[in-house]
Every structure is written in structure tokens, then in C-alpha cells.
């Protein structure tokens, strides 16, 4: 994707009460892309988003919107009319749904003949057309957030900031809204930034992903790239790569390497994808959905890595179960409820876990000996 850069952030710094809470050397937002900011609470997602939206005083750095320097007050004020933001709390006014959606157009002095059809159209599009005359005080959480989204989309924003818009919704409301938002973002080709701590939301909405921790961005990249090739253990854990194995490269070649696992897992060898020199200490990550379980070693399987082990824990995770295994080393796998029953999986049971070499991703090559 080589589209025009819409928003360009350089050396953004924000201080609060004397301590630095945000330090982002560079971040670009391109036209038509949805960028997800992921990270735990307190990672600085909201701070970064407010800074990008020009709603937070910067203690350093600069921000350009389509070339205009947002350090200039008049440019920043003009920018405020071209972007908009939706927060976790819908923050609706004590008025009707229609009046709420019409707020932005009214602030811009648009006549009601222009306003009303747009308000109605966006309410319909977000599935709240029947609620236009209802008081915003009497809405469910999902309806309220839909109203907040309609209030934002009606402005035709050139950048849409969404700060954890689903975090206070229950599961059914969240599912429905995720579908609708994903569809509308795609249909409108919106440029958007969305913060979330849920990798599923990011995976469904975003094209690119930035993982944050402690006010800094650890990694930015395409969705698949970050999900499958996290650059460090924190990012790996956060994007759901639950198994991290450390070991020494025994042999390598043609993009494939044989890894001899470290202490506590002597003798085990794992085939993984990546480039590294023999003798180097490396980490490989394996996503739990790429590990399959069977009762016996399957000779015909294309999986190069197969390890007998015992089940340590069975943890329900909504529609599926997470199985933690002891194969001489830790390994996590996801199975459906059906597989769980068919295989008769329970703690203490014997099992064979297998995964392809292409499912084991090299994470980082340097500084491991010093760190771990």
C-alpha cells in the first residue's frame, strides 16, 4: 500500500505531572488505512490517540496533517473540523438521538435541510433509525455507542479516532457493532485509528497494528506481520503468541532452522522458519491455534514437529478451550469444545502435540543471553 500519508507524527512527547507518558519517534497514517493501537491499560494508547487528534498539548515533537503543521494554533483548529473522535464512554448529550447526531453539523452552521437527511441516513446505516426521537438517556450501551458513531460518521471525517469504542459493551452488542463498524469502515474507505486491548478486534478491523507499552510503540507493521512475526516477547504475548521457546540454533539453511531447546527441555529439537547462524540463541513463537493435538503420533502428517506430552491445564476461552501442555517444555494449543470431547482431553492425560515448521516463527536474535 503506497498511499499518501495523511498524518505524520515525529518525536511526539507528552509529559504529565513531570513524567514522560508518551514518546513516539515516528508514526505515519496513510489514506484509507485502519491502524490499531494495541497494548495493556496504561500503555499510552489513549494518550497517543489524543495527541494525534490534536486534543492534548505536546511537550515536544511535531504533527503534520496533509502537510499542515499542527503546531500552529489556527491549523490545529482547522484540523479539529476535519477529524473526529469516538470515546469508550459514548458521551452523549442530554437530548434526543437525532439532536446528538446533528451536533457536529450544527456546530458547522449547516442548515437543517442539509443536516436532517444526513442524520437520518447515518442513523439508518448504524441501525438506530427507529430511535431518532428517543432520549439519549434511555439507550442501551450498544445503542448509545451506535449513536456516538453516527455522530462521528455524519461529519465525513478525514480521520476517525476510535478510543476503545467497544470496551464497555457486552459480548452480543460488541459482536454486532464490530460487524457494522468493519463494514462501514470498508465501504467509506475511512482513514481511522482504533485503540483496543483485544487482538480479535484489531484483527477484524485493522490493516496495520502498533503494539504499545509504557508510552512507547514497540512494533508497527501490517496486521499479519505483527501477529506472526512479533519483534519481542512482550509483543508476542500481547498478540496471542502464547508459546515462546528459547534455544540454540543447531543447524540452519534455506530459511529453516533446527533449534535445540534450553535447560529443562534437553534433547528436544524444534524446526522453525527463519535465518540465524548455528550457535546463536534465539526465541521462536508458536500461536496456539497452529498447534494440533492427537492421541497418537501421526506419521502421515506434514507437521515436522511432534511432541508427546501431558496435559497440565484445560482453560475455557469462550468458544474454544486453551490447553496447556507439558512436553518437557511449555506449549499452548487451542481446541474446539468438540475436539475436547472427542479426544477426551483432561488434565494429566497423555497427548501428542504437533505443529508445522512454518508455524514456529523466529522472534529475536540479539541480546537474549544477557536478558534471560
Amino acid at each position: 500500500m503506497s498511499r499518501a500519508t495523511v498524518l505524520e507524527a515525529r518525536n511526539l512527547k507528552v509529559h504529565r505531572g513531570g513524567t514522560q507518558v508518551l514518546d513516539v519517534p515516528a508514526l505515519d497514517l496513510r489514506a484509507g488505512e485502519v491502524l490499531a493501537l494495541m497494548g495493556p491499560n496504561g500503555a499510552g494508547k489513549s494518550t497517543l490517540m489524543l495527541a494525534l487528534a490534536g486534543l492534548l498539548p505536546l511537550s515536544g515533537g511535531n504533527l503534520r496533517f496533509k502537510g499542515a503543521d499542527l503546531g500552529v494554533r489556527s491549523e490545529r483548529e482547522a484540523y479539529r473540523r476535519r477529524m473526529t473522535m469516538v470515546f469508550q464512554d459514548p458521551l452523549l448529550f442530554d437530548a434526543t438521538v437525532a439532536q446528538n447526531i446533528a451536533t457536529g453539523p450544527r456546530l458547522r452552521g449547516l442548515p437543517s435541510a442539509v443536516r436532517e437527511p444526513a442524520v437520518r441516513a447515518w442513523a439508518e446505516r448504524l441501525g438506530i433509525g427507529h430511535l431518532l426521537d428517543r432520549s439519549a438517556r434511555h439507550l442501551s450501551g450498544g445503542e448509545a455507542q451506535r449513536t456516538a458513531l453516527a455522530r462521528a460518521f455524519v461529519l465525513g471525517p478525514e480521520i476517525l479516532f476510535l478510543d476503545e469504542p467497544f470496551a464497555s459493551l457486552d459480548a452480543p452488542a460488541r459482536e454486532g457493532l464490530l460487524d457494522d463498524l468493519g463494514r462501514i469502515l470498508a465501504e467509506t474507505g475511512s482513514t481511522a485509528v482504533i485503540s483496543t486491548h483485544d487482538q480479535g478486534e484489531a484483527a477484524r478491523l485493522a490493516h496495520r497494528l502498533s503494539v504499545m507499552k509504557g508510552g512507547a510503540i514497540l512494533q508497527t507493521g501490517g496486521l499479519r506481520e505483527v501477529m506472526n512475526h512479533p519483534q519481542d516477547p512482550f509483543v508476542a504475548a500481547f498478540v496471542g503468541m502464547e508459546t515462546l521457546l528459547k534455544g540454540q540454533v543447531a543447524a540452519s539453511g534455506e530459511g529453516l532452522l533446527t533449534l535445540r531447546l534450553g535447560k529443562g527441555a534437553d534433547g528436544h529439537e524444534v524446526l522453525a522458519m527463519g535465518e540465524a547462524r548455528p550457535g546463536q540463541t534465539v526465541l521462536v513463537g508458536i500461536r496456539p491455534e497452529n498447534v494440533s493435538l492427537s492421541l497418537h503420533t501421526d506419521k502421515s502428517s506434514s507437521a515436522r514437529n511432534a511432541f508427546p506430552g501431558t496435559i497440565a491445564k484445560v482453560i475455557p476461552r469462550g468458544p474454544f478451550f486453551k490447553i496447556e501442555l507439558d512436553c518437557g517444555f511449555f506449549l499452548a494449543a487451542y481446541v474446539t469444545a468438540q475436539s475436547l470431547a472427542e479426544l477426551g482431553l483432561e488434565p494429566g492425560g497423555a497427548i501428542v502435540a504437533s505443529f508445522k515448521a512454518t508455524a514456529a516463527h523466529l522472534i529475536r536474535r540479539e541480546g537474549l543471553d544477557a536478558e534471560v
Partner: protein
């Protein structure tokens, strides 16, 4: 008990015959306290808005002072305003002591902190993210303030009611700076005090009933304004 019944009967008679003196006193009460409340609303919001929207050193102190001001004893205000307006006082050149203007001034001093204090708390109780949300919808600063006031309209009208209630019912300041001069500065409260001390209970009753009716009517209008346009 006879005294009470007789008093009430006489009071009704005075009211129903629209005694000109009673009417004049009532209208002056409404005018003085109404204007004082209006001035206090302007001053109160003028103080509350910048204090609510900005962070500055000493903000807590300002808030504490405002809250203390909400309980200013009218006689203390009366004393200070009298001294200020005294012929040789700093504002003596205005020559408004013992006129309705002096009463409006004193009552505005009493009501301003009440309206400022309640308005401030109303604005501070709005959701913390609301200001950013309004700005993110493209509001200029004046538009943002207007939307915040609109959002806080219920407690803001309560502030106006509390301010009006405070000054329509006070007597200390009015009697000190107004002097209870018949036909000029006599209002319902000062007249009630005087008639009671003279033993004219029936007149005092009539005046008291008028005071209650006046307070009720004004608050009824404000309550109507407050609850109007509330979407169900």
C-alpha cells in the same frame, strides 16, 4: 388561635382588594431580587466557567472561598455595603445608599457566590471526557462553553433558584442599605419585620403570604424552564 385566624382573614382581605401599598412593596421586592439574581448569574457564570475549565495554582483555594461565600451572612454584607456607600466611603460618590440600587448591589453580593458555587460544581460534575468530545466534534471554544452550559442546564437553573431564594428572603442587608423607607425601599421582608414589631400581625401575615406566593411563582417558572424540552 383567634389571633391567627383573624390575621389570616385580614390578610386575604388586603390581598383581594389589591392594596396599592402592598402591591408596590411586592413589585419592588420582585424587581430588586430579580435584577440582583440576573446580575449574580452573569457574575457567577463569569467566575464559574473559567475556574471549571482551567487548571491553575490556587484553584482549590478559589473553590473553598466560593463555597464559603455561599454562606455569607446578609447582615455582614449589609454592613460592608453600607460602609462602602457611606457618604465618605470609597463608593460614596455614587449616592445610592438608601435607594433600591444599593439593595440590588447588596443582594448581588449575596447571590453571586451562591450561583458561582453551584454552577462551578455543576460544570465540574459533567463527565470528564465531555469537553474533549465536544472539541473533537469541531466546536470552537465559545461553542464548547455553550454546549457545556446546555448540558448542565438542570443544576444551573437550580443555582438560579438558590440565588433568587437567598435574596428574596433576606432582610438584614436590605434593611441596612435600603432603610425600609416607605414608598422607596420598603420590600416584603423589611415590611414584615416592621409590621410584626408594631404588632400589626394581619398586615405581616398578608406580606408573608405574598412573599411565599412570589417565591413559589418564580420558582415554578424556573422549574418549568428547567424541565421543559427534556426528552422523555
Amino acid at each position: 388561635m383567634d389571633l391567627i385566624w383573624e390575621g389570616l382573614r385580614k390578610a386575604l382581605e388586603l390581598l383581594l382588594t389589591l392594596d396599592p401599598e402592598v402591591l408596590r412593596i411586592t413589585l419592588l421586592s420582585l424587581e430588586v431580587s430579580g435584577l440582583a439574581t440576573l446580575i449574580s448569574l452573569v457574575i457567577g457564570l463569569g467566575v464559574a466557567i473559567p475556574v471549571a475549565l482551567n487548571e491553575f495554582p490556587g484553584k482549590r483555594l478559589v473553590i473553598a472561598l466560593l463555597n464559603t461565600g455561599m454562606g455569607l451572612p446578609p447582615v455582614v454584607v449589609g454592613l460592608f455595603v453600607t460602609v462602602l456607600l457611606w457618604r465618605n466611603g470609597p463608593l460614596g460618590f455614587l449616592e445610592i445608599l438608601y435607594t433600591p440600587s444599593a439593595m440590588i448591589l447588596a443582594q448581588a453580593v449575596i447571590a453571586s457566590p451562591i450561583i458561582a458555587g453551584i454552577s462551578l460544581s455543576a460544570l465540574q460534575h459533567l463527565p470528564p471526557g465531555l469537553r474533549l468530545q465536544i472539541l473533537a466534534l469541531g466546536a470552537s471554544r465559545p461553542q464548547m462553553v455553550w454546549l457545556l452550559l446546555k448540558e448542565a442546564r438542570l443544576p444551573l437553573l437550580a443555582a438560579v433558584m438558590a440565588g433568587f431564594g437567598g435574596v428574596i428572603s433576606e432582610v438584614g442587608a436590605s434593611i441596612m442599605v435600603g432603610g425600609n423607607i416607605k414608598g422607596q425601599t420598603r420590600v416584603l421582608t423589611t415590611a414584615t419585620v416592621m409590621e410584626t414589631s408594631k404588632g400589626n400581625f394581619e398586615v405581616a401575615f398578608a406580606l408573608s403570604i405574598l412573599l411565599l406566593v412570589l417565591a413559589f411563582s418564580v420558582n415554578a417558572v424556573l422549574t418549568h424552564l428547567q424541565q421543559r424540552n427534556r426528552p422523555r
